[in-house]
Assembly symmetry: C2
Homo-oligomer: 230 residues x 2
Amino acid sequence: MSSNWVDIRDEIRRRVLERELLPGAKLPNDQELAEEFKCSRTTVQRAMLDLAQSGTVDRRRKGGTTITLHPITRTTFDIPITRLEIEAAGNDYSYFLVSREILVSPPRVASSFGLAEPTEMLRVTALHMANKQPYIFEDRWIAHETTPEILDVDLSRESANEWLIRNRPYSDCEVRFLAKRATRQEAELLASDVDEALFVMERTTWINGAPITMVRAIAKPGYQLVAKAN
Amino acid sequence: MSSNWVDIRDEIRRRVLERELLPGAKLPNDQELAEEFKCSRTTVQRAMLDLAQSGTVDRRRKGGTTITLHPITRTTFDIPITRLEIEAAGNDYSYFLVSREILVSPPRVASSFGLAEPTEMLRVTALHMANKQPYIFEDRWIAHETTPEILDVDLSRESANEWLIRNRPYSDCEVRFLAKRATRQEAELLASDVDEALFVMERTTWINGAPITMVRAIAKPGYQLVAKAN
DNA sequence: TAGTGGTCTAGACCACTCA
DNA sequence: GAGTGGTCTAGACCACTAG
């Protein structure tokens, strides 16, 4: 007779779907819902936490709980380590280093870190392959002032990404998705036409405000990132 | 002296960051953590729920709680209604319908819905503009068998997206991000070069298994989707 | 089958914010 | 100032699963 929190969540979702609750509609308060569903307020709270996290309802102290006025599509993507993504698909992973040099970072890199001045950084480019076919081209800038040990790592054997994950945790991360035209180098490495449209995942990470790395993962033509939403 | 759940979460995060806890490390069980943090097990549970949802730890009954073995970047994107996105940036929104016709859906559309057979659908294309500049070109297929009322809507006045959101809730949604080269039509409408790389957000929605709509939101050149992760 | 996390209860106090 | 959601407690039982 009494409900668990999943039942309550699903019932509220059903009411939204059946248009018994329209965007902006106010729900009864937690105490009243607890009586309706014959459960404790804690259980209602648990259901509402889930609905709020998925963007279905807005909750405000004193203001109460309302159905989200402007529905959005909330999507969660897990961006895995490239090697694991390839291996999870049952393919053979290989990797090779394309270049490694110390350069002054161009403005787009410095500004992505929030740095006013261009800084010397370690720039590494590498190719990740699935079954010997190009999969992702990685264009990475590493703030070796923050992580000097990276200068001693043999990046032809291990990808900078995996070394950093094991040795240099981050506190903040920003992700950007975008499209870019293949340069001649990218086209050659990814076996695509010049001017092909390529999907790019860009990540910048910091540790307590200090820049760690900024990486562009440039995917082979046709790559898609897929997720279920809501 | 006793901790709240945010303190506990942050302390576990700190231990991961400081490498006191390495990937794969096993945490004490909830009861022991409750004693360590001088709080009830419920409070530990709340902290662990958050850490598990963010992908920091894995929790399994009997298996206990471990630091995630292979760190991933988990990112949440909110895809808003285009009009609201433009208005939120302080820009003037305008919209116009480019085409509206009933067509048999091509295979890529039918298969995106999981339909074996190509089906007649309403196909609508439209342009969303910010300050009179092209912003997003929308290429949409609507299963009018599921939502026949859409045939009577004046789509030159209101975008199909906003009408659908108000009148046709969905139960399932799949999102795909990809890059594509601009066709001549897209280049003209978005004021870009032919062959420019464009960022595409594709969404397919269903209501209890029945297809509703599949939309490609093709963004103007230079568009980026940005999010904070973890 | 025993250990661990997941959930529920009933009650309390707190923190925010709307009117 | 008062109403509402957020959190905490102490204890109980349940559900899953590793060994």
